[in-house]
Amino acid sequence: MSNKDAYWAKTKNHMIVTLVIWAFFSLVIFMFGSELNTMSFLGYPLAYYMTAQGSLLAFVIMLFWTANKQEKIDEEHGFSEREED
């Protein structure tokens, strides 16, 4: 039972970390849109770049990262489905 609790505590932490990064790329940076736009990336104004492409790309990378990390947590606690399928 305590293994289950430890697993869930880790999963929860992982969820929170993921959502913090998510909030950064989806909300926090766009609070500073006008400031960011004075900088440039690949020749695009930065805030424009982030909303057109950058944040979207960050979400994609994040999702692969988060799935892999969660699989590691599964394995550590013996909840990996690998043996089953």
Binding site: L36, N37, G43
Partner: protein, 617 residues
Amino acid sequence: MKGGFIKNLPKVYGLYTGGFAVFIIIMAIAEQAGVSAKNIGVMFVAFTVLIYAFIGYLSRTVQVDAYYVAGRQVPTVFNGMATAADWMSGASFVALAGGVYFGGYTYMAFLVGWTGGYVLVATLMAPYLRKFGCYTVPDFIGTRYGGNLVRACSVFVLFIASFTYVTAQINATGTIASRALGIPFELGVWVGLISILICSMLGGMRAVTWTQVAQYIVLIVAYLVPVFWISSKVGGGIFPHLMLGDEVARLGELEQQFGLVKNSAADMKAAGVPGGLKYISGSHSGVPEGGMAVWKYLSLAICMMVGTASLPHILMRYFTTPSVRAARKSVAWSLFFIFLLYSSAPMLATLSKLALMDPNLPTGIIGKSIAEVQQIQWVQNWSAVKQVFIADFNGDGILQLNEWFMRGDVVVLATPEVAGLPFVISGLVFAGGMAAAMSTADGLVLAISNALSHDIYYKIIDPKADTAKRLLVARVLLVIIGAAGAYIASFRLTSILGSVAWAFDFAMSGLFFPLVLGVWWKRATRAGAIAGIMSGILSGLLYLLWVYPKFSVPIFGGVNTPFLGIDHLRFGLIGAPICLVVMIVVSLMTKEPDAATQKMVDDTRIPTGKAILGKQH
């Protein structure tokens, strides 16, 4: 045999993609040989729709778990493609680039919202719902909280959210079918509906899955080929996503040069600008100043993200993967496939805007004399169908930026023509738009009819029904829901995007917190869920009626100022917090869930072990 089919999927879809490429080449040759543009459009749409119908027929089934969850054997990457097609609607395909074209930076909150939501899907929902083993989203809510009432409440929310969405999709299928086939819109809607039903009726989720994969391939090819081609043709570089920095800067200069002028409503009315046509009044890359502008951006992004994570037709795609692990990975693949299109929309908008605005380009029209512009072939074609319009407000005979009106869809549908690409590309774009609208409509119609047939008919009305009867009811409901959607769509009640955003707000108002808390908060009770769902959806609905002028004038007798800038696109920000608070308060007031329910939640949280609901239920 079946294992063989799954193993051979890459080969099957590889062949299919190759076949589609050959078809495009044949059409290109036919164009050179003098086949008319209209006939090429017809052939593109007819050929692709027939293929989807054929896949739908091959995927017919008489098994319950194949009908509801495609037998839970859809591999990760293919489920990602199917979800991407399910997700990207006719509106994404046809109207997104147009939205960026007119709205610029502000509008792109939609892009962030419609992709960021998948992070919520992956972390909070998909793996747990997959472990639960439910057939539908209300199936989870009904089993987790226990009881028919809470099940019925969630079906109610699902119905409102998905039905608003499906009407817009059938509308889009009708629009594209009518333009490509040259038939009246009212007829186009029914042609679209029949195509949708052929793909889903015989095989349910299994058929929809395999047609959606096929539709994704068509729609992504149809979106990317023109973007790359136009970009290299107008000098934007071969890889527009990385190379349009100068073009974006140039648009900023041109906006300065021509000036961003706001037209008064009275002027536009006097000039007779047709409804639904827009002009450029906002900056392309500039961030509007002020706290309210920031809040407008963030609030829209929040609504779209939370709404994404609550839409049943998306969540149910993750019920079809073989394992919990596959469900997580599949969300990542879905977003990757969505990203391919979404990151291209702003590039298409940039190229298209520059082509029209830059006086140094041969395609530029702004700043030229109106008489000259009216001679251009594509302007004549699209003016004839009232998709573009010129109003000479200042009477100087020169086309100003604020005097050029266009429907958003035209950006995707006409840019290939404007940039001088062969018509075969326009035909391809029609086929892509049709694929996008059909795949989303299929997913939605199936989500609604599955909820009605499984949760209302089988779980509540007749739990003893045998398989044959259940599937018969499911199919009859599918036809009824589709026909009802088409019937309403044929009246053209809403513009495409307005109602699409509403679906997200409805779903987030009534479903987001009951789903999340069902997994993440053991203390959530049945009474809490019922109170939360109903207060969320009803307060959201009431606020929409109050804030949207078309409703508020007849009901409340006047136009109301949105509270904190929360307008009709963002009413989920009223519904969802009310749902959360009510759900927590009522849950804490009622007795905590029994040991069996708590154990059920515990089991949901770990990937291994038996599903909560059996393979057949």
